[in-house]
Structure formats: structure tokens, C-alpha cells
Point group: C2
Chain length 153, copies 2
DNA sequence: CGTATTCTCTATCGATTTAGTAGGCTAAAA
DNA sequence: TTTTAGCCTACTAAATCGATAGAGAATACG
């Protein structure tokens, strides 16, 4: 399960991706658009900025913006920043590894072997899906839905 | 991230699978073998029993045992019983679905589309991995390790 | 310059969840 | 009918999560 924080963060990133190129967006506007508690969003954006995913400018005309192209920011990187890891157990995490106390031999731990497969499958999806791709996919669905409606007229 | 409860549960199931056929195992013995707090394990085993994964017998000679063959119990079923779901967000869960409040249209929600892929990938692994397979895999690793040692002598 | 604007940072708080404990109850053997 | 061993409910401590408050620091602009 991903946290609400991570979900908010992804929402915000996608919103910024949609508005990419139109300059900095205010936290307040983003919060309003995405219906995210403003103060909470503040922390999230800051974390994403400190991780190099977002950029910011202070003062009038300031706000937040993507530090890179939407096609170069992956869902995986955002989830790792906000949730710490993508792995189902710490002992198979690449970014937040922690030796597990219970099993004697990590190499032959059956649970670990399976969870490693899970981690790899999840990472494969999230690390190969960019914000841009997500936008395209979701607009494809919308178009398709519209098409169906058009036919029915 | 799976909970410690789920991890304990999987450990216990694998231990019972290893000892499958030798009659009921005492909670106390399982707790000792797997180094799991006994009282906590008690709750976990009960939950697995109520879900039909384990069977039990009271009184002398009693204990817990697998209700089915190790080849017929999947990691997925155990995780769902103990963690409630396998999905990263409630809106893509088959077993613990909850409509998400934030996105207007679920069908075209980009986050949901990606998380659905993640869920499917995770479910595909966990639902197609039985306790038996886990045991085989982990003993394969052990054998391989042993072989290396043999060569080095 | 100085003031309005907007992000930055630290601290705190309440609610929920997680991990674990306690203890009496019930069923089955012997 | 006593012992054994699971069943069940309740409780609690600690951690995490979601959210808020408010002062501080940087930037633009008149």
C-alpha cells in the first residue's frame, strides 16, 4: 500500500506535468486544483524538490515546476522519494535495504526470493513509466470514452 | 510494504509446509522454531484457520496443520488474509476495493491505470506461487551453495 | 529601500495502525 | 475430571500517518 502522501505527490506531479511549460505553479493553486490540504502538499513538494524532481522559485511569480521533462521523471523515482521504497520487504529493497533479523540465511530465504520477484516486477513497471506516459495513457482512455459517446449520438 | 504480521504468517506457513504430514504442530513449537512471539503467532494462526488455510485440533496431540496440500496454498491467499489486499491502492483492489475520493473519473485516472498494472503484476506472482514452490526454490539455492563449497574442498 | 509574495523549515498534534501482551473460556484427550 | 492446547476478547505501548501552525528566508517590484 502506498501512503496518501505518495498519492498526493503523484497527483501533484501529474498536474505539474500537464501544465509543464507555463511557468511556476503556486502551492495554493495546486492544492486547490487537486483538492489536497495545502500545508500537507507544501511538505510533499518540498521533499520532491530536495530530491531534485521539482524546482521552485520564491516571491511574486514564483511557485513549483518540474525540474526535468515529464518524459524523464518516472513514477518509481517519485514513489521512492515519498514512500522510501518500492519493495514489499526491507531485505529486498535497493534504496532502503535493511537486513532482516528473523531469517538466518538471506540467500536461501524462501520469502525473500518471492518478495524479490515482486519488487523487481513493481520496479520494472514504475521505473519504466514516466509522467508523460501516464498523461498519454489517461487521455487515451478519455478519448476512447468520448468516441463511444459520439457513436451513440 | 507487507506487515510483520504477514511476514510471521508466511514464515509459519512455510514451516508447517516443511513439516507437512507429521501431524499437528504446537503453537509454542512453531513460535520457538521461527522465533515469533507466541501470543502474536496465536492470533495469526487463528486468522489463517478462519480463512480456511489452516486446520487445528485442541487438547493433547493437538496443534495446527495445513488444511490443504502445500502445492495448493498460494502466497497470495495468505497475504490477502493477513494484510487484507495485495493492491498498492484500494481503488484497484479486487478483495478490498474502495472508491477513491480524490479522482473524479476512476476510468481515466492515470495513477489508477499504473497502479492497476502493479497490482496485476504482484497478484500474478503471489497467486501463482505455492508454499511447495517456495520450499523447492529455497532448497535449490541451498543445494547450489553447498555444491560450491564441495568444489572448493 | 521596504514591503508584499511565496517558498522553507521546525515543531506539534490527534488519529490510526501495528506489534505485542494478558487472561479467561472452550473443546478434546486421557 | 484433570490436563492439554487452541479460542476469543480486551487492552496497551509505540510507531506511523495525515494534517496544521507559525516563524523565517529569499525574491520581485514599486
Amino acid at each position: 500500500m502506498i501512503s496518501k502522501k505518495t498519492k498526493y505527490g503523484l497527483q501533484a506531479l501529474l498536474s505539474l506535468a500537464r501544465q509543464h511549460g507555463s511557468g511556476p505553479i503556486l502551492i495554493a493553486d495546486l492544492a486547490e486544483q487537486e483538492q489536497i490540504p495545502k500545508k500537507f502538499l507544501e511538505l510533499i513538494l518540498l521533499q520532491l524538490k530536495n530530491a531534485g524532481i521539482l524546482g521552485s522559485r520564491k516571491g511574486k511569480g514564483g511557485g513549483y515546476f518540474l525540474a526535468k521533462d515529464p518524459g524523464q521523471i518516472t513514477m518509481g523515482s517519485a514513489v521512492r522519494v515519498l514512500d522510501g521504497t518500492v519493495a514489499p520487504v526491507p531485505c529486498v529493497s535497493e534504496t532502503a535495504y535493511q537486513k532482516c533479523t528473523e531469517c538466518a540465511d538471506e540467500e536461501s530465504c524462501g520469502i525473500r526470493l518471492v518478495m524479490k520477484d515482486v519488487r523487481d516486477a513493481v520496479a520494472d513497471i514504475l521505473d519504466n513509466t514516466t509522467l508523460k506516459e501516464v498523461l498519454v495513457r489517461s487521455s487515451d482512455v478519455s478519448k476512447k470514452a468520448k468516441k463511444v459517446i459520439d457513436y451513440s449520438i
